[in-house]
């Protein structure tokens, strides 16, 4: 890995040290004597499955939570922030998965939010612009227009604005929580170069990610958490993805991604002809067969999400035609569901699930009929059905009535998938099904997708078809029968997965080679 920079000074004192951190929530111990430190110029990976204690650790670091035992030292002085604002003032910034930008304000206003330069209460626009520009320059984003509203920016650009905000407050420890889960490969690489730049400038970077390949490519050191304890830490030189995965799950996960054996595809169940929608999707043709998993490989902004949304009639179609079997369809999502087509949203929290509703309601929302007579719902029957799926998919929850927002990301995703199974759809449109979920859950989701395409071995359920969108190319290569590349709003013809390599997909998706 030639691009990995060594920390400037191997002997440099850590800028931030946590010793013996312990945090209990009632009877459960979220952190149990965790040691953690980061040096200036170092990019340290913080990895662990959901529930391993990463979020708890970060919330304490960010001043959002209090620890029960242990000490924190920042820059040689005891550090005990009372609030996130306190932590920022001290020089520790956490950039969360859900970005905290004011959509209707401009880039420069967002960067200077809460500490606008001014005189007599009036904002000094010039100074604000200079400060924003300086931070963006430092990140290598000189040409970002500082007067545009943040809501027009891509996910990656928004991330840059967030980091610029942290920089302009003079932060020296920057923590990124799953920054690439919303980014395509290209944007991720741009972000990595920003982070390397930060580290070279002497910033300490803590990098939290589920993508172990990313971690080994980007970070210098790592701390792995498991069940609230440190399962391993040290330099990343010579540590493989498999080693890290083993530390996280506490057992060797051999062949997390094993290529599945492909069955014989059947009749065409979904046809898309010359589909165009919105600004992003310009032209897509595809034919999906029964029992087939067709992958769409595309970067963020390539129009892949828009393709699924247009097929499912969530977004208006500009032109083109969607056919399920022999029927032309596509007036509304409810009609698509009636035709046996279901969509899994990439935005699990915002769109996929109703957070305040129960597991049972979320799972059965699209098909509540049949739980009682004449429009009534029998809770008993609804809960029994839900319990069946909870068992079948091994969803970890307190029961059908638990609120879905109390579940971990992986289990939430299983609830969203179970909804499609409960609805008994024939065609599944899956948009980034493994985003933001832990390693073990990912493997389960892959198995689940593969088993859907196989149907019921007993023959009582015919094979389903899957259209799978992902920016994680190894995932596509492992799961799909065929893969088509999406680039700048155009879908290129699909080829058998065996004809692709990860490198080839990346080249095709970034346009460095004709697909």
């Amino acid at each position: 890995m030639a691009q990995v920079n060594n920390p400037r000074e191997p002997s440099a004192m850590p800028v931030f040290v946590m010793t013996g951190m312990t945090k209990r929530f009632g009877a459960t111990t979220a952190l149990d004597g965790v040691d953690f430190s980061v040096r200036p110029g170092e990019i340290r990976a913080l990895i662990g499955e959901n529930g391993a204690g990463k979020s708890t650790l970060v919330s304490i670091l960010a001043g959002a939570g209090k620890h029960d035992e242990g000490t924190m030292v920042f820059d040689g002085r005891p550090y005990r922030p009372a609030s996130p604002h306190d932590a920022r003032k001290a020089g520790v910034a956490v950039i969360y998965q859900e970005l905290s930008l004011a959509d209707h304000m401009t880039v420069e206003e967002n960067i200077c939010l809460g500490m606008e330069p001014g005189r007599f209460g009036f904002v000094d626009t010039e100074a604000m612009r200079r400060r924003a520009q300086a931070a963006l320059d430092q990140l290598g984003h000189r040409d970002m227009r500082t007067t545009q509203q943040v809501r027009h920016l891509s996910a990656a650009e928004r991330q840059v604005v967030e980091i610029a905000r942290a920089l302009s407050t003079g932060c020296r420890v920057i923590v990124l929580d799953e920054p690439t889960s919303g980014l395509s490969g290209d944007d991720s690489r741009a972000l990595f170069s920003v982070l390397r730049r930060l580290a070279r400038q002497g910033c300490a970077v803590v990098y939290i990610s589920h993508f172990l390949e990313e971690v080994t490519g980007l970070c210098h050191t790592f701390t792995a958490l498991r069940d609230g304890r440190v399962a391993g830490s040290g330099k990343l030189d010579g540590v493989s993805v498999e080693d890290l995965a083993a530390m996280l799950v506490g057992r060797r996960s051999d062949a997390m991604l094993s290529r599945r054996t492909h069955g014989k595809p059947g009749d065409i169940v979904l046809t898309v002809d010359g589909l165009a929608a919105g600004k992003r999707l310009r032209l897509a043709d595809l034919a999906l067969r029964r029992g087939e998993i067709l992958g769409i490989a595309g970067l963020l902004g390539s129009g892949r999400t828009e393709l699924l949304r247009a097929i499912f009639a969530l977004d208006p179609v500009v032109r083109g035609d969607v056919r399920v079997g022999a029927y032309s369809v596509g007036a509304s999502p409810s009609e698509m569901l009636n035709h046996g087509v279901g969509l899994l949203s990439e935005d699990r929290k915002g769109e996929g699930l109703a957070a305040a509703m129960s597991v049972a309601d979320n799972m059965t929302l699209s098909r509540l009929k049949g739980f009682g007579f004449a429009g009534f719902i029998s809770s008993r029957s609804q809960n029994a059905t839900t319990q069946k799926w909870i068992d079948a998919l091994r969803i970890r929850c307190a029961g059908p009535l638990q609120n879905v927002h109390r579940l971990s990301g992986g289990n939430q995703q299983k609830v969203a998938l179970a909804r499609l199974l409960h609805h008994d759809v024939d065609v599944l449109l899956l948009d980034e099904p493994t985003r933001g979920i832990d390693v073990a859950s990912k493997a389960e989701v892959y198995r689940l997708i593969a088993s859907m395409a196989e149907g019921d071995p007993a023959g009582s359920r015919s094979p389903r078809s899957v259209l799978l969108v992902s920016s994680h190319f190894p995932e596509l290569l492992a799961v799909c029968d065929r893969i088509a590349v999406m680039k700048r709003g155009e879908l290129y013809p699909a080829r058998a997965a065996s004809e692709w390599t990860e490198h080839g997909l990346m080249m095709a998706a970034t346009g460095q080679e004709a697909a």
Partner: protein, 319 residues
């Protein structure tokens, strides 16, 4: 604690907070107000006084659970009284026809409101702010800016005070409606759809729920219940009054909110709403019995609204 009992506990505690508040307020007045406060007659009076707000709040609960709001309820109540009186007086209609006419007018306004919100994609707050003025104006126009006198019929007996244990029909009608709406909201597919639309409209759409259809029905039902509230109002007034129930919509919204309804949607219950309305009535009645001036009642009621919502937030934080 398993999930079932956890959920029971939670749904219980969400109505238990307001219920505790009601009991506390009631006992407070029993202790400090004159003994006339705690008589059976006064309890019946309070039930009668709550009827109009409760009836309208049944529809408002559905609206608020679906993530909407309706500011036109007070005006619809007035229009309903005017239409009922007009039909009785000028149209010489039978009381039943007049009542149905008044209620149907309310439902019609609800259809219009729902149509504007769903088809023109306008914010409910703006649409119903407009409807509030529009409907009030229409009521005044029909009544030529005067009260419409109507002959006394059985309609006026709906909220008349009965014997000590013989409560008027209007109270019973409202209770039956309340049970029906509670069942609708908790036990039917439509109710689950209403909750889903308020909880997360994007999820609802993803699950094939016809969000616009659900909203249209919700606003129509809300208009219907506002019309029924207008009928109760007419029963008390015996005239059609285009200026009646000014600002009543705020009492109605307050009842829902005190009862645990969330203005961001997805939360609220009929039991809570009724308790919310009763809390306000008890305060009013108690203050009146003690001879406290109107401004004291208003300040106490305002405090209760803010405190109820603040307590609810605290409770949610803890859970």
């Amino acid at each position: 604690m398993n999930a079932r009992s956890e959920n029971r506990f939670r749904s219980l505690s969400s109505a238990a907070g307001p219920l505790l508040g009601l009991v506390a307020v009631y006992l407070l007045f029993v202790a400090i107000a004159p003994s006339s406060f705690s008589t059976a007659a006064n309890i019946q009076t309070m039930a009668r006084q709550s009827t109009i707000v409760v009836m309208a709040a049944l529809g408002m609960t559905l609206v608020i659970v679906s993530g909407g709001i309706d500011l036109s309820v007070g005006s619809v109540i007035a229009l309903s009284t005017v239409v009922t009186a007009w039909l009785l007086d000028r149209g010489s209609a039978s009381p039943l026809v007049a009542a149905v006419g008044g209620v149907a007018t309310g439902a019609l306004v609800g259809v219009m409101t729902g149509f504007l919100i769903t088809r023109l994609r306008m914010a409910a707050f703006i649409v119903t702010l407009g409807m509030m003025l529009l409907v009030r104006g229409a009521a005044k126009g029909i009544a030529a800016e005067q009260k419409i006198d109507a002959p006394i019929t059985f309609l006026n007996g709906l909220l008349a005070s009965g014997g000590t244990w013989h409560w008027p029909a209007g109270v019973w009608i409202t209770l039956v409606m309340a049970v029906a709406v509670a069942v609708l909201l908790r036990k039917t597919i439509f109710g689950r759809h209403v909750t889903a639309v308020g909880s997360n409209p994007l999820t609802a759409r993803l699950c094939g729920i016809r969000v616009d259809e659900v909203k249209l029905i919700v606003y129509t039902l809300n208009g219907l219940f506002a019309g029924l509230a207008g009928l109760m109002q007419f029963s008390r007034l015996t005239v059609g009054d285009p200026t009646v129930a000014m600002g009543k919509e705020l009492d109605v919204i307050a009842a829902v909110v005190i009862g645990g309804g969330s203005l961001s949607g997805g939360e609220g219950s009929i039991a809570g709403t009724i308790i919310g309305a009763l809390i306000m009535t008890v305060i009013r009645s108690g203050c009146a019995q003690m001879g406290l001036p109107n401004w004291v009642q208003e300040m106490v009621t305002g405090t209760i609204i803010v405190a109820a919502v603040a307590l609810d937030r605290l409770r949610q934080k803890r859970l």
